[in-house]
């Protein structure tokens, strides 16, 4: 089973984490920008207003102290021009004249006495009149023909008229826009850098997790002695690896104990069995009549049955505990079935049974060949033992999704009702069956040890139908060399 962890970065957790982190980061940056923008705008406004009110006062003073003769207009114009050159935040205008500042003096009746600025000043004056200005405070005034409002301050004159000084907010806007652009560019860079940093750190961390997962799944499938890669850092991931390895230690220990028990049991029983068998065989060779030989031969037969029973029992026990040691290789099931059927066909036809193989193409599985040979042999032995003459057995093989499906079906009387649900238990067998009831238990155990399964049912025609599923051979996944703890 290849690990199904997302390899595409777009589906990885690292991607999602960094995306969310970036969003939060961008949102925070936006807030900071808004605050900063507001602060700067206020500050500029404050400075402009201070300049305006100060300047309008001094212009009013000049106007007051200047005799109203021919030079009055020139003096005031010059003073206004001069003042306009000191506008705060001013960017030099390329247009001739000065369209960012205007100065106006109006008489009591609202007639324009003096105008410094671009245009005739009529539009300005109309707008100013509509704006209800208060003395000593600056107010935003929208003037026809200008996109950007003017900030205008007003001082009443002694003659009952007013002096107005207005400055365009264009420069202020420009400063703020400039600030916004710079902030946007800088913010983008920061957010991007943040994204990259978050992405790489989480990816590094999650790669460690993925390596652990992959190693763990590999270990789960085959080799209990290897360990997940340990990281040097003592963070959560490092702890995870350590915990997993400790768990694996314990599992390996239990497995080892199970192996030791079954091995020593096997050894303790096998040695005397070997000795007994040898002695029987020796007495067989010294026996000189058929009468003497008969009991010895049958004793040997019984002994062989006993040791076969012992072997299969222990195999089933180990497989049940997922402790069957597998030496896997790529096996073509079709080839195995052909050979097996070739082996069994004579015995079958001797008993009046027919056997046929249905399948299309080779089906490759990654299994322990010896165990799978025995699995198939058990299935065919089963048929050979239970079917009555005239029956036929159909073996078929197909690949389905990620499994090779081997079906053995006959047209006999099917599984007896009383054992049907317990077919794969040890010692369960039909009443008439001469076997020891381990055959199907072994089949099931082997299939399970390979990550497959067996199902039994009575087919449509009433015959027995056994279906064995074994995982298909997959192309070995390229695995990066991993660190294995020195254990």
């Amino acid at each position: 089973m290849s690990s199904k962890i997302a390899e595409t970065p777009l589906r990885s957790a690292a991607w999602r984490i960094s995306l969310w982190a970036t969003l939060a980061f961008a949102f925070g940056t936006l807030l900071v920008f808004l605050m900063l923008n507001r602060f700067v705008a206020n500050d500029i406004q404050r400075r402009t207003d201070a300049w305006l009110t100060g300047e309008v006062e001094s212009l009013a003073e000049i106007s007051e102290h200047t005799p109203k003769d021919q030079r009055y207009a020139r003096i005031l114009s010059e003073a206004a021009e001069l003042a306009s050159k000191e506008v705060p935040n001013r960017t030099r205008s390329h247009t001739v004249g000065n369209d960012s500042v205007f100065f106006a003096e109006e008489a009591r009746d609202g007639a324009l006495l003096l105008w410094v600025g671009t245009g005739t000043g009529k539009a300005n004056l109309e707008a100013v009149h509509g704006a209800h200005l208060e003395p000593d405070t600056a107010t935003d005034v929208h003037i026809d023909g200008y996109k950007v409002p003017f900030r205008v301050a007003m001082v009443p004159t002694d003659e009952g008229g007013h002096i107005y000084l207005g400055v365009s907010q264009r420069d202020e806007r420009r400063v703020l826009e400039n600030l916004a652009w710079r902030f946007l560019a800088l913010g983008l860079v920061i957010v991007l850098i943040g994204f990259v940093i978050v992405f790489y750190t989480t990816r590094r961390m999650l790669t460690a997790v993925r390596e652990i997962t992959e190693a763990a799944s590999r270990i789960g499938q085959s080799d209990l002695s290897s360990r997940v890669p340990t990281v040097t850092s003592n963070d959560e991931v490092g702890q995870l690896a350590l915990t997993l390895n400790r768990m694996l230690d314990r599992i390996e220990n239990s497995m080892h104990q199970l192996h030791t028990i079954t091995n020593s049991l096997a050894h303790d029983l096998r040695s005397p069995l070997t000795a007994i068998r040898g002695k029987l065989e020796m007495s067989l060779s010294s026996a000189n009549s058929g009468e003497q030989m008969e009991p010895i031969v049958s004793a040997i037969d019984e002994l062989d049955r006993l040791s076969e029973f012992l072997n299969t029992s222990l195999d089933v026990a180990e497989a049940r505990a997922d402790a069957l040691r597998l030496s896997r290789s790529d096996v073509d099931m079709e080839e195995v079935l052909r050979a097996m059927i070739g082996l069994y066909e004579p015995s079958m036809s001797d008993k009046g049974l027919k056997i046929s193989l249905h399948n299309g193409e080779p089906v490759h599985v990654f299994v322990d060949p010896a165990l799978v040979h025995r699995l198939v042999a058990n299935l065919l032995d089963n048929e050979l033992r239970h079917l009555v003459a005239g029956s036929s057995v159909t073996v078929s093989l197909r690949s389905e999704d990620d499994a090779a499906v081997l079906t053995v079906e006959d047209d006999g009387s099917g599984f007896a009702k009383e054992i049907k649900d317990r077919l794969f238990e040890r010692g369960v067998k039909g009443q008439a069956s001469p076997g020891h009831g381990l055959g199907l238990a072994f089949v099931e155990a082997v299939a399970r040890a390979h990550g497959g399964s067996v199902t039994a049912a009575n087919g449509a025609n009433g015959g027995a139908r056994l279906e064995v599923r074994l995982p298909l051979a997959v192309q070995p996944v390229e695995v990066e060399p991993m660190m294995v703890s020195a254990d």
């Binding site: 000795a275 040691r325 030496s327 015995s347 042999a377």
Partner: protein
């Protein structure tokens, strides 16, 4: 033929020693790895029989060590372990053989003979096999008895070839399964017997001396004289 038997179980050692001697071998015994090493290096044995579960050293380690020391004799491995270790598989590919306990004495003797023959002859690639009046053409895959051609299936031909190569020696059912079908299985039905029975029906026809003999409880032998 000198054989070194390395086995720690007294019972098994004694009956193996006796039956090997009866079968005509000169037998030396060693109860543990250290003795085995001494004996193997001193004397030149034609074959070694090594039990994997020795008290002082693992059998495989012993074999690898003996190989390092220049002992070239083929090894018959006896194992009480059911599942076959990959290392044993490796040794088997190197020309040695293994048997799991309990084994039939006849099986051990048959395999031992096989091992010695394989090791001794080096296998000359003859294209014809001849046993009495039975003749096999290995290139054309044709068999004949006297002037009579035998109609054999490819599988039957392989089986007969195996019997011929071991003419005069006992072959057991599991040896046949192993060598002819390439399977290490122990079917509890009579699959091999039926194959032999069929083959016999074609080879030992009326008017010819029966060649394929059954040894009850042991296996089969193709008579060579």
């Amino acid at each position: 033929m000198r054989v070194l038997l390395v086995e720690d179980e007294v019972e098994i050692r004694s009956f193996l020693e006796r039956s090997l001697t009866e079968a005509g071998y000169q037998v030396e015994v060693a109860p543990d790895g250290a003795t085995a090493e001494e004996l193997a290096v001193e004397g030149s044995h034609d074959a070694l029989i090594v039990d994997l579960g020795l008290p002082d050293v693992d059998g495989i380690t012993l074999i690898l060590r003996l190989r390092q020391l220049g002992v070239k004799a083929p090894v018959m491995i006896l194992s009480a372990r059911r599942t076959v270790d990959d290392r044993v598989r490796g040794l088997e590919q190197g020309g040695d053989d293994y048997l799991t306990k309990p084994f039939a004495l006849a099986e051990l003797l048959a395999r031992l003979r096989n091992l010695l023959r394989r090791h001794g002859s080096g296998g000359n690639p003859s294209t014809r096999l001849r046993v009495m009046d039975l003749e096999l053409d290995l290139l054309r895959r044709e068999a004949s008895r006297g002037d009579e051609a035998l109609q054999l299936t490819p599988q039957e031909f392989v089986l007969l070839e195996y019997l011929c190569r071991n003419a005069g020696r006992v072959v057991t059912r599991s040896m046949i399964l192993d060598q002819v079908w390439g399977m290490r299985i122990q079917p509890d039905t009579n699959v091999i017997d039926v194959h032999i029975y069929r083959l016999r029906g074609k080879v030992d026809t009326a008017g010819h001396e029966p060649l394929i003999k059954t040894l009850r409880g042991v296996g089969y032998v193709l008579k060579d004289r």
